[in-house]
């Protein structure tokens, strides 16, 4: 691709102090987002996907002691070296964020109209009256019926789906170039989720925004994203266009994730695939490959040395020593052979 990316994250590292010492929640993450594309960031709880998104807008408390390293270039400027005033001009304006739980992200004592108008007044210097008109227009855009009355409603008067629409309206009110959506539909029912996803895609097209969608739901990723980043324990383990990822996943973790979800078409009598064990704590990051303990293919090399994220094909990157040897079909036999060896190695 010759185009310049809208967002270019380079070697991002985010560290927090905790009672048991510092943890590195995001460890050397690099990726790009181009205008008009939707990048999915997937992984299980604790993999660092939300921290990555918070790092982009530096949404950490001043006294939290969070340390950010690397570069986050947006429209040619590094967000990590900006002053607080500068980044405040970008938050909610050029880059917007939508969170999972619309109830706790809205202020319960302000009307939804006031909350949406706030960023329009602040970033675009609009008068109160003009901001209100714009707000009504935004609410109409996100499909809220009779928006002229609804602007005076408080969050508790709306249903979950409607509140999420308000959050989207708020996120889009200044026509951002980049929208970061952190599990935007996880708290919603499937029929409402379908409405909200359709809405987000439609608005993305209209505004030619870039979008980062953070989710643990691979079904949502398959339907909405054009490119996917899979994270595990603070690192990207696989990056690929969505079709490639679902058809030819190369990292054992991605393969495991894809196989362990029941689908509406799968064979019901078959047992579900299981990834053995659980995600290690950030305090005890294994040396070598971080997935080795749970990986059916791991050998001595995996336990000793950490693999890099390397090219595995067109636009396809994988962090695995054995990516060339692994294929979905032959995987299980290999797994059986290596299991015993793995136990001696990890024990």
């Amino acid at each position: 691709m010759n185009r310049t990316p809208l967002l270019d994250v380079k070697h991002l590292r985010t560290r927090f102090p905790t009672e048991r010492g510092e943890v590195t929640a995001v460890d050397g993450v690099s990726f790009q987002v181009y205008a008009g594309e939707t990048v999915g960031l997937v992984g299980e709880s604790g993999c660092g996907k939300s921290v990555t998104s918070l790092s982009i807008l530096r949404l950490f408390g001043k006294h939290s002691g969070t340390r950010l390293e690397g570069e986050i270039n947006f429209e040619g400027k590094n967000l990590l070296t900006m002053s607080l005033e500068e980044i405040q001009k970008i938050r909610g304006n050029r880059i917007s964020m939508i969170f999972q739980d619309p109830m706790s992200s809205l202020n319960p004592v302000l009307t939804i109209g006031d909350q949406i108008a706030e960023s329009i007044i602040r970033h675009q210097g609009a008068s109160k009256k003009a901001a209100l008109e714009k707000t009504v227009e935004m609410l109409r855009l996100v499909g809220i019926p009779s928006p002229e009355q609804r602007v005076f409603d408080y969050p508790h008067q709306l249903s979950g789906g409607m509140r999420q629409r308000v959050m989207i309206a708020m996120g889009l009110s200044c026509q951002p170039k980049l929208l970061i959506a952190d599990e935007p539909t996880t708290a919603l029912d499937v029929t409402i989720q379908a409405q909200i996803l359709d809405l987000m895609l439609e608005v993305k097209e209209r505004l030619n925004m870039g979008m980062i969608l953070i989710t643990h739901d691979l079904g949502v990723v398959a339907e909405v994203c054009s490119r996917v980043l899979v994270m595990y324990l603070g690192q990207i383990v696989e990056e690929a266009p969505v079709e490639t990822l679902f058809e030819h996943p190369k990292h054992p973790y991605t393969v495991g994730l894809l196989r362990s979800i029941p689908t509406l078409e799968g064979n019901r009598s078959e047992k579900l695939h299981v990834i053995e064990g659980m995600v290690p704590s950030l305090h005890q990051i294994p040396q070598g490959c971080r997935f080795a303990q749970r990986c059916p293919y791991a050998d001595r090399l995996c336990f000793d040395q950490a693999p890099d994220l390397t090219e595995a094909g067109r636009d396809h990157k994988v962090r695995c020593w054995h990516q060339d040897k692994l294929s979905l079909e032959g995987g299980m036999e290999l797994a059986f052979e290596t299991r015993e060896r793995r136990e001696t190695l990890s024990g």
């Binding site: 029912d189 379908a194 691979l218 079904g219 509406l264 019901r268």
Partner: protein, 318 residues
């Protein structure tokens, strides 16, 4: 039939407004279903459709406003507290959130043993040994006996909760969203465990969930609820291949598929679920139904058997 709900109704009174106007949330309306021994009955629906209330009524954790609950042919709604206490030994429940279902100050071994103490199962001295066996059965180790809940991950806690439910050797377990708080890789571990335990111990499950793929995987029969009504019920394969109720169809089409090549043919429902305080007239689904005809506003459709084992509540299903 091991468990049967007959015309079960639950209404919760709501006191509201400054004049204490009384209204009612009609959580479950006239619901009848039965679950055979050894079967897994999946109950699906969106939040607020009354599926959890139904699960709780089946155990009489919530008293039905009217209607009957039969367990092994006996009407347990007529049971005294003592009779109920004894039958509860055979009926257990596992909740969604394993964090809040365990006492943080109680070692997990003791938590599991508690139910055995209450029902005086086995000799007191043998109980610890039985707890070890239960821990092993759910995939934990005996060293875990004297640890506290905070030392475990979500998936492990759900295993502990299961071990505790199994401590009294139940025959019927209501699983209320048992995997929805878990990560996908852990979710499959727990689903496999539930299936394995069912085979070993001949358990009967009422499996309540909003995730249709999970319900399809684990259930033998599935019931679909909408606004307190059971709108469709069928054997799993039949329901997922030939859904007859427009709501079931919309629900199935809304599930995102983990296959980017699949063309979406979504039936997007407009609007929100109406308030259960003021149910729509006639068929409760008619305001959102893409196929509604005037008759739908008038009469409530009965849940009628259209094919063997396939019941549908829709005027247009004929």
């Amino acid at each position: 039939m091991l468990l049967k709900l007959e015309n079960a109704v639950k209404r919760f009174p709501v006191k509201g407004g400054c004049f204490r106007t009384k209204s009612e949330v009609k959580a479950v309306s006239n619901l009848s279903l039965s679950i055979a021994e050894g079967e897994t009955y999946g109950l699906v629906g969106e939040s607020g459709c009354g599926k959890s209330t139904t699960g709780r009524m089946a155990l009489r954790l919530i008293e039905p406003t009217s209607g009957k609950v039969y367990y092994k042919g006996e009407d347990i709604t007529a049971y005294s507290d003592e009779q109920l206490r004894l039958v509860r030994k055979e009926m257990q429940i596992v909740f969604q959130d394993p964090y809040s279902s365990l006492n943080p100050r109680l070692q997990i071994g003791k938590a599991i043993q508690e139910a055995m103490n209450i029902f005086r199962i086995g000799e007191a001295a043998e109980r610890k040994q039985q707890v070890y066996e239960l821990l092993h059965k759910v995939g934990l180790q005996r060293e875990h006996y004297d640890r506290y809940p905070h030392e475990f991950s979500g998936g492990q806690r759900q295993r502990i909760v299961l071990a505790r439910a199994l401590a009294v050797s139940p025959r019927f377990i209501v699983c209320d969203e048992p995997v929805s708080a878990l990560d996908v890789s852990i979710q499959s571990q727990i689903i496999n465990l539930l299936e394995q335990l069912q085979d070993e111990l001949q358990l009967t499950y009422l499996f309540i969930a909003h995730d249709l793929s999970v319900v399809r995987h684990i259930s033998d029969r599935v019931g679909v609820m909408y606004l307190g009504h059971l709108v469709e019920e069928a054997p799993t394969d039949e329901l997922f291949t030939h859904p007859r109720h427009p709501y079931t169809r919309a629900l199935l089409s809304a599930v995102p598929h983990p296959n980017p090549k699949r063309k979406r043919e979504r039936i997007v429902l407009t609007g929100d679920v109406p308030s259960p305080i003021q149910l729509p007239s006639g068929c409760v689904f008619h305001p959102r139904c893409p196929a509604a005809v005037p008759a739908c506003k008038e009469a409530v459709p009965a849940l009628k058997e259209r094919l063997a084992g396939h019941r549908v509540a829709c005027h247009l299903a004929d």
